[in-house]
Symmetry: D2
């Protein structure tokens, strides 16, 4: 699968990095610079941020997408952002190179069908209570509409363990590689919910065969407007990129 | 909460019964007759049926809603049907007395907000990996728009147990009654996924304080177009209504 | 199954009540009086209390068993207490009418075999991660030694829900009744971990067909040496017994 | 921690390999040769094999331990075998270099205390429903008796996912490394229950910081008397050892 000059599912391990939410022109520009400097290919970031509570920050909307597009372009990056609802598809298609479907929408079948009608790559995240089989069936929904460019993402499932926010099911990566031709990436930020666990789990995901990583990075994570606890600092990001590269090489890939 | 002449959350245990999907004029009429004869107050049934696989029966759409409305009216019943997407809200509002939000949409925050803008009661089902707290926060999303008529529904969570399709978290019923003023009903059909477990779990839900039940019943469950394994026969439904009544009385309610 | 004058698995719903741990002569005597006054048939209590941390109170040992036997006899009750290890079997057999195997020992196959060799009824609690099938196979271990008097107990499984300590799988009760001839009782104290949830879940268990209940009661739960948060007061116990009786009658049983 | 000439928890990633059960003199000798040839330091194997069903093969007992000791010695390997019950401790101490405590005994506190009294290293496996905190507290039980040589083992937890037998919680490895000074190894055989997933999960465990691996290998896995589906062939074992070495180097370790 080729998106612009970036191949996903090939020999190279691809990295998507950026903030949970687009917060301001300065913040997204800094994030894009950090992502590019660390060697990422794709800038991630959310413009629509519905949260568990209706009273929290809900994102910058279209303005956020514009800022993100500009920051990605200035830094030679592709861009991925989440589509929450089928009415947002045209807007997301205008700005974003990859449409993200979040874990909570993995079985929103109307939305899956709708993104199946467009011709933009889709990043489909596993639901927190979804089996691997259900993840693959959700991808079928998108592909049955003719959109075959689906990237899967393991981002942790809900179990009784509470030390980490979710339990990252690393085995889902080789299982998907075995059952399907689709690329799969790992999300150690949501997968663990803890900044200090991002590096070891990024290494584990790549060692298990992941085609890429998606991580939350922010110039000042402790003041991020969302997901700060699982967002790494620029220094941690550079270290992670460096250390993941060695693991990628060890499994015959480049990163 | 009063919907037409039916009070929910009062002393009377309310029953919602009907097929998983509206299949034909004859089928929905028969279902409505069975529901009314057994003493149910509300006819349930789905017109839009996105399924785990994109290649299964997907429902009759608006035609199904029309057939269901007519069958409900002829039998003196209210009607509840699921809204999958915010674009379907006007259509559902035209036909249905109660808008159902399915388990997979419990954290579809755009849809929660959208149903918060209308003035129709909402039946909000717990997500299969949602905590009780998240269920209550989802209800907050609807209510923050000014729509206060939210009925919660416990319909089973996903655990390692495989004999039943889900694990019905009966304790969620008294926990919700303690933490909130909202009514809560139990769904022993989805809660167990097994026809033979509907009766005991309906009794358990009412014994634990449920304000109502929602069950799948069909004149010929083995030939139902969806969810047959968990759908009870008319005879099982009458027996259930009879036996649940005794339990309701034992906990100081009527049914 | 008859133990002394008490039948388990018959028409009558049996109640086992008492403290988590035997703490002193006065405490266990009071507990036995409360249990008898409320209408229980069996006094429960632990003499060996290994805890998650090695630094907590570990039980009174044989002295506790003696005190408990005397208190049970004075109040016309049977007695059930836990055996932790095969070396304790002779001691437990000397004092207790029923040998309890705890959730953590449900797959301690050596211990299962060992209790299969004695001729004392066994109360076998479901492991917190055990499937219903594994519970039935564990009972097979006991019975394969010739000890057929096995009572099963549903006491909650571990899930992602955190408001309750465990998720009480009420459906396990009718499932066991369907798959097996063995009696099964419910433990709403461990099943929920919350004093305020014991009553509704006791009702639910009986409504679903439980042959009995086992509950923790203490004259002063807030000062109990273990499990205080899930232990009910004498008043709550009397109320529970009264209210459960009505539910038992509603499902054609007596209590 | 040094056991003979083998250091565990140091820079070198240690491998324990062998069959699920000791079956015959030829089989255990072949397994030991394979383990040594592949570069493992420790021979694993069970002599007491209580199984979920009481009617399956239950192990060779002391004869198995003798055979295993001889095979380990002939091939310059240490040996680890499971102790099921405190009465077996003297026997296991006589033959085995490391005492394994299985997942089902992780909270068998009497057994934990008993192995705390001996001076043999203990391999403590995480229970399938145990939190990381409970695993660390179980190790405290052993250490509170003065036996400080405890090696922890992540071997998968029980979740709703059914494609793999368990969900290997790779994050437990870096979490334990952060919270404790104890070494931790990964068990990709039990962690996945699938032969084809052993290699990627072995790599992932080492990439995440595991101090070692324990794997099931058998000259003819399809005819193994237990656990065949998750047991790798000699060729798969040699390949795994080779490929894990590269990952170990990539994270600054040797293997």
């Amino acid at each position: 699968m080729k998106i612009g000059h970036v191949e996903i599912g090939g020999n190279k391990v691809v990295t998507m990095a950026g903030p949970c939410s687009v917060e301001s022109p300065e913040q997204i520009e800094q994030c894009a610079e950090i992502a590019a400097k660390g060697g990422a290919q794709v800038l991630r970031g959310g413009a629509f941020k519905p949260r568990s509570s209706p009273y929290s920050f809900q994102g910058l909307g279209e303005e956020g997408l514009k800022l993100m597009r500009a920051a990605a372009d200035r830094n030679g990056l592709l861009m991925v952002s989440e589509v929450m609802d089928s009415t947002q598809i045209p807007l997301l298609c205008e700005y974003s190179d990859i449409l993200q479907l979040g874990a909570r929408n993995m079985q929103n079948f109307n939305l899956l069908r709708a993104v199946g009608q467009v011709r933009k790559p889709v990043l489909l995240k596993r639901g927190i209570a979804a089996t691997i089989e259900e993840l693959l069936l959700a991808a079928e929904y998108v592909m049955s509409g003719g959109n075959y460019e689906v990237i899967l993402c393991e981002r942790g499932i809900r179990t009784f363990e509470t030390y980490t926010r979710n339990t990252m099911d690393i085995a889902a990566i080789p299982v998907v590689k075995k059952l399907s031709h689709l690329p799969i990436i790992g999300d150690p930020s949501h997968g663990t919910g803890r900044r200090d666990m991002v590096l070891p789990m990024a290494r584990a995901a790549v060692a298990a065969g992941a085609d890429g990583l998606i991580v939350e990075v922010h110039p000042d994570p402790d003041h991020a407007m969302s997901d700060g606890a699982q967002t790494i600092t620029p220094e941690q990001f550079y270290e992670m990129m460096h250390k993941v590269r060695a693991v990628a090489n060890a499994v015959g890939r480049i990163a």
